[in-house]
Amino acid sequence: MADNKELETQEEVNSETQSLAATEEAVTKPTNKQKIDIFLKATGNAPIMKIKKWAVPPERTIGKIIEFMRKYLHLDSKESLFLYINQAFAPSPDQTVRNLYDCYGTDGKLVLHYCKSPAWG
């Protein structure tokens, strides 16, 4: 669980107050080293993660995040896990958090919806 240590826990925030509505808000650009906050939201039948907000290095890939979530949620190898941006598309496993935050980050964080069956993609 090496990844587990690298993903630093941050104080949990109330997801209800920070909705996706503010898409036009300016996003603060991270420097190369600064970690990026990601916010993981369960959809459909997906189990809820006890800690939803994580700070991850900008070069972290979506593939590594899926790998980490699978362990955290104790999914067995037969269960699928899908991640979505803007409830619209599934980012590629080699896509970096930095790219996604720059393009789709809102309100200082990147929101990722996850589910166990294909939803929007």
């Binding site: 590629s92 496993p93 080699d94 790219n99 720059d102 393009c103 789709y104």
Partner: protein
């Protein structure tokens, strides 16, 4: 869009000659198989054009490996199947002599470097995700989500079967600019060597409403660097407007794929 249709067709017809060779360490038996030559569309993906390659080589390898996933390398670098073929070529073109010699493997899949691709469906879902992402950037997802399933299928079949008219009959809707004369943002990815690709949020117009050019994009993505940009094997002039580039030089996934050299 329609006025420069000839450009779209020329881009679509881009082909590369490739010489596929089986990794010599995997040859099982006395006979080394002949290389297999193929003209491949730049806009396609390797898993869509290599069924014949698999059939040709599979009889020469160990029987235990005959159901293994096939993968490709050029000069020791594993080729990412989810990059369009033309992007891979442009990335490595400095080291490539035509025909492009590619080594075929069935063994030792490089887990750290490649995503698995067990079937064409994997390519299809990756391709459709890219189209959806591009439409989020261009039209806030409004065009693609108003399309029917049959339109999505037509885009995919057009690419898979190399049918320009079939593909563009639907893709033109994704390239429309209703009302204002530009997209919201330009979908693009920049590739440089082995680094992860870069993607940023860039508008086709300046604050004053002027059309941004390729030079503007490079200045935003690589500030204070002088770089060359290649796509589809050409170096577009730096004063090419981004909106025009997005409409005419995007790959079928609706992204501009720009290879960056110092």
């Amino acid at each position: 869009m329609a006025n420069d249709r000839e450009v779209l067709r020329l881009i679509w017809e881009g082909r590369l000659p490739v010489c596929f060779q089986l990794n010599s360490e995997e040859v099982c038996g006395l006979h080394t198989p002949d290389p297999f030559y193929l003209m491949v569309p730049r806009l396609s993906y390797f898993p869509l054009v290599t069924d014949k390659i698999r059939k040709h080589f599979v009889q020469y390898i160990h029987s235990d490996k005959q159901d293994s996933e096939m993968w490709l390398d050029f000069s020791g670098m594993a080729l990412k199947w989810h990059y369009p073929i033309g992007v891979l070529y442009d990335l490595y073109s400095a080291d490539i002599q035509l025909p492009w010699t590619i080594t075929v493997h069935f063994d030792k899949f490089p887990e750290e470097e490649l995503i698995h691709c067990q079937s064409r469906e994997a390519v299809e879902s990756y391709f459709m995700s890219c189209i959806k992402e591009a439409d989020v950037l261009k039209h806030r997802s409004q065009v693609v989500s108003n399309m029917q399933k049959k339109d999505h299928n037509q885009l995919w079949l057009g690419l898979q079967n190399d049918k320009f008219d079939q593909f563009w009959a639907v893709n033109r809707k994704l390239m429309e600019v209703p009302g204002d004369d530009s997209f919201k943002y330009i979908p693009f990815r920049c590739y440089r060597g082995e680094e992860p690709f870069l993607q940023r949020l860039i508008k086709p117009l300046t604050e004053e409403g002027q059309r941004k050019t390729l030079l503007n994009l490079i200045e935003e993505v690589y500030p204070n660097e002088k770089v060359r940009v290649t796509t589809h094997g050409i170096e577009p002039p730096m004063d090419t407007p981004l909106q025009w580039m997005s409409e005419h030089l995007s790959y079928p996934d609706n992204f501009l794929h720009l290879c960056i050299q110092a």
